[in-house]
Amino acid sequence: MTSKFRGWPTRVVVTLLYLFLLAPILMVLVISFDAQSTMSFPPRGFTFQWYERLAQNAEFIHGFQVSAVVGVGVALLALLIGVPVAIALTRHEFRFREVMSGFFLSPLMVPAIVLGLALLLVLAPLKITGTYGGLIVAHLAITVPYVVRTTSMSLMTMNRSCEEAARTLGASPWRTFTRVTLPLIAPGVLAGGVIAFLISFDEAVISLFVVGPQATTLPVEIFHYVESRTDPQIAALSVVLIAISVLFMVIIERAAGLKKVLR
């Protein structure tokens, strides 16, 4: 009864806050079609030229390729080492399990700027900054925790007696894993891989330290571009990136349910 009377001030406040929250994204969306080339508002005409220019920008295209290759590499490597860890943490009892579980989440507690510098100090003497291998190593620490987490969650929620049933039916531990466990945790594993890819693809700060002329990732290219210029080409690029993120999130949602992954 009272809710109708007190409804509209709440609504106004919440709408304004949503506007604030979404303002930069909306802004980017609008000016990516803006006909003028300086950052200003309101837009003066509609154009696709920024998207066309984007398609010809060699640096961005190369950056995109580097980020994509590194992202896929990081995702695969993170899965390769993260999935077994998740199995150990959820399926085996051992003395330092709690410690190890904390250890595999700890990279998320270190600021990217600190980790970036630390990686620079190690990778630079080895002369692998600015290489695909160096970038993949640099992104490994911040992606493995997510793979461990999503995979552990799938392992904990799956029906354990399916594994036991397979064993009683004559499957060796390895065959039980490949024939029963893996198919059942596939959504969590896939989600972990996609998240690892997205994080690597979006990562800017660590990459700033370890990129080089041969291999510079897209976020770093964008960073340097924005540092010097601010024409709407970046907006167009941003819209493309947002579209890609949304696409991936839809994949995760379909595969595992976004809620499970977020918390």
Binding site: V14, L21, I81, F94, V110, L115, H139, A141, V226, I234
Partner: protein, 286 residues
């Protein structure tokens, strides 16, 4: 029996060794190296003397310029945290209470910005807050100001952009914390005669405290370590610990000093986390 435990141990070892090696190379070793580096002696020519000295730390502690920078960083963390709570709380409370059929979409919209790289969102703020941006155009159009306000290349812009960038994290934490919030409880308090204001401060706010605390910790930690936004919106004219680490490492090439600042930042982190755990324990004790 012992053969069995041995094989079980081998299995655990086999499963975890690749992961341990991976993190050793990409995480532990670099941090250890960083710590070692902070005890070397460096200068602005990029020369590094292998030694064992506290010079870099002394340089930081002995210079009021760096004290100011550490203070500004802490202030940024606190300010952004408080402001983020203020602007996120109404959205979170609304999302918990609403029975709208668009609830799912509204929740998705509130956290969707997380899907966008902070470089992109920072760029959006540059466009919004620039001299010819929406905000200044609107203010001048309304005749409130004659000259565009300086909203970028200074601390004001950094605060505004960071608050927006941190909002989705805070909303997520608040929503998770509201898990034990029960609207029945609120109605009960009101039916007992508490007015809305009192209901909020006596019932809703205390119940949401764990979520607020978790969100505050996360936002504080992310803010004081953020680099892209202070750098781009600050236009290289405002300095925080994170931007200084980058400058020392890439421009001045004084790696030992950059390493020392990095560990001072980590120490700040540790202090905040200890305070958070104290506060959490106190709340849970109540």
């Amino acid at each position: 029996m012992s053969a069995k435990t041995r094989s079980a141990r081998l299995t655990v070892l086999g499963l975890t060794v690749p992961g341990l090696l991976g993190l050793a190379v990409s995480f532990v070793l670099p941090l250890a190296w960083l710590l070692r580096m902070s005890f070397n002696r460096g200068d602005s020519t990029g020369y590094i003397e292998e030694t064992f000295t506290l010079d870099s730390y002394a340089q930081f502690v002995g210079d009021s310029y760096y004290w100011d920078m550490a203070w500004e960083t802490t202030l940024l963390g606190l300010g952004v945290t408080v402001l983020t709570i203020v602007v996120s709380y109404p959205i979170a409370l609304f999302l918990v209470r609403t029975e709208s059929r668009f609830k799912g979409i509204l929740v998705a919209l509130a956290v969707a910005p997380l899907l966008t790289s902070s470089v992109v969102r920072t760029y959006g703020w540059l466009v919004l807050l620039g001299n010819q941006g929406v905000v200044n155009q609107a203010l001048m159009g309304a005749g409130l100001v004659d000259q565009p306000l300086a909203l970028i290349n200074n601390r004001i812009g950094v605060y505004i952009a960071l608050v927006e960038i941190m909002m989705p994290y805070m909303i997520l934490c608040l929503l998770a914390g509201f898990g034990r919030f029960n609207q029945e409880l609120e109605h009960a308090a009101q039916s007992l005669g508490a007015n809305r204001w009192r209901t909020f401060w006596r019932i809703v706010w205390p119940l949401s405290m764990p979520g607020v605390l978790t969100g505050a910790l996360l936002v504080f930690v992310l803010t004081i370590s953020s680099f892209v936004t202070p750098r781009l919106v600050g236009g290289g004219k405002v300095f925080y610990l994170a931007t200084e680490i980058y400058d020392q490492a890439t421009a001045t090439l004084n790696w030992p000093f950059a390493a020392a600042i990095a560990f001072i930042l980590l120490a700040l982190f540790a202090v905040v986390i200890v305070i958070y755990q104290r506060a959490l324990r106190r709340i849970e004790a109540q």
